[in-house]
Symmetry: C2
Subunit: 247 residues, 2 copies
DNA sequence: CGCTCCCTTGACGACTTTCAATGATCGTGG
DNA sequence: CCACGATCATTGAAAGTCGTCAAGGGAGCG
């Protein structure tokens, strides 16, 4: 029921503006969001972001760790962007098991596979407390759709890279590819590419990579022994990026 | 150099039509294509197809088996649709190996990951003699872009299904998922879902699924022994669809 | 303090890869 | 029409990897 938490900009803005407040108006009303007004999703360049942001509704309360944003099969009414926090995307298989097919971080648009679908194909669950923006589908115009194509194009690229990762039969190779993917993702968002925090647990990682959590543990352990990285709890520090890429 | 083979519709049509011939004019000029004029790519519904088709140039000669349509790194100037035949999509990895990330059949739009990219991210090679349509990027209008979003959305779905397939560690499960994916694809195009021809060899399949070609052979052999399917050469006949789905 | 969830480690077994060799099929050219 | 070569499919045996099952340890929370 995330919709009950939105700051509905139209109710706080002057009449006659088509129901959407100017960005500044939304920002001024956003008490719960720890992001400063100028912080933009990384997916969007500064010019295009304005048009997205202009129509986006900031969610009033964060999604708590473990809470569900949307559930597979729900009707699609909006896209979302992550401002702070992280989500996992999972697909419920017919046999009852669920498979994680993605991890998403700030700046990512949620729902790129669904803009022309009637129902959500995946369930999104917060890995930690997460702040979001909501972009109702009906406010998308042609310019925004054009931007959407670019975002989907990048997401398809990512999916093909994931194919390369998963097609490696060797566990260490898959793990290395996963770490490098995360590293590149963090780096692209202006954070450290060599030192980061894993918001998901080993079971999630193993589910995502198609292995067992024991294997995740062993592989990370052996990588630490080999001097490729060091870890304390969920904090990872990559020591030998080249060696990882060489796998 | 596929561009040298195109039937340039603008040169055969009356002046003053913005350089694009009506579909019938193109069809009339297409001697090499064995498809009758009314045959449409399955990706496109009949209404939307018209706008795509209207701007598409039919390639005069087919791509021969083994020939390359576009190479990874080439500049993107057009999308393609397959009319007859099949392609494999592969990514050249930095270490020199190449990995197959997709097989494509008639009705598919080639280049959905690249519409906003400057360069092709993947290489496309014909598995058999293949006829194509070429859709220059510059003729895309907003209506077609909107349609493109739906196609990309479906392709992303497919990519997530592929994630489910590759995340299965068991060889037989991956093979079953692969066969069912193919079966559904053929069925959706009006062909038999239980009896079809594999245009790719075992090495390609194993590359795609992340295993060895010996394993592909053994797994298909055991499936035949179990009565799940029968094969003669590259012709596959699925005998027990439910059992495959149960994996 | 005790519960739960998660991480860690060990031993065994099943499966896939690897390496090697043979057989089948197809296209080409003599 | 046949012989040849190349590519692909097939099968066997050995070795390595990962999954499985089991148990113990640690961190966080009420």
């Amino acid at each position: 029921m995330p919709d009950s938490n939105v700051v509905d900009a139209s109710s706080t803005s002057p009449a006659g503006n088509n129901g959407f407040a100017a960005p500044r108006t939304i920002h001024a009303r956003c008490h719960a969001c720890p992001i400063k007004p100028g912080c933009l999703p990384a997916d969007l360049d500064s010019r295009q972001l304005t048009s997205f942001e202009y129509r986006a509704l900031r969610l009033r309360r964060p999604l708590r760790a473990g809470q569900t944003l949307v559930r597979q099969g729900d009707a699609v009414e909006a896209l979302y962007t992550i401002r702070v926090g992280s989500l996992k995307a999972l697909i419920d298989e017919p046999n009852g098991t669920e498979r994680i097919v993605g991890f998403h971080f700030p700046g990512t648009v949620i729902g790129l596979a669904e803009p022309e679908q009637r129902y959500w194909l995946r369930t999104f669950i917060a890995l930690e407390d997460t702040w979001l923006c909501r972009i109702p589908l009906k406010v998308l115009d042609d310019a925004m759709r054009r931007r959407l194509i670019a975002l989907m194009s990048e997401r398809l690229q990512q999916a093909y890279r994931m194919h390369l990762t998963l097609a490696c039969r060797s566990g260490p190779k898959r793990m290395a590819a996963f770490l490098l993917e995360l590293s590149a993702d963090f780096g692209a968002r202006g954070l450290s590419a060599s030192r980061f925090h894993l918001p998901m647990n080993y079971t999630d990682i193993s589910n995502y990579l198609g292995m067992r959590h024991e294997s995740v543990c062993r592989i990370l352990g052996s990588m630490q022994e080999l001097g490729l990285l060091s870890k304390s709890g969920k904090n990872i520090r990559i020591l030998d990026m080249q060696a990882l890429q060489h796998l």
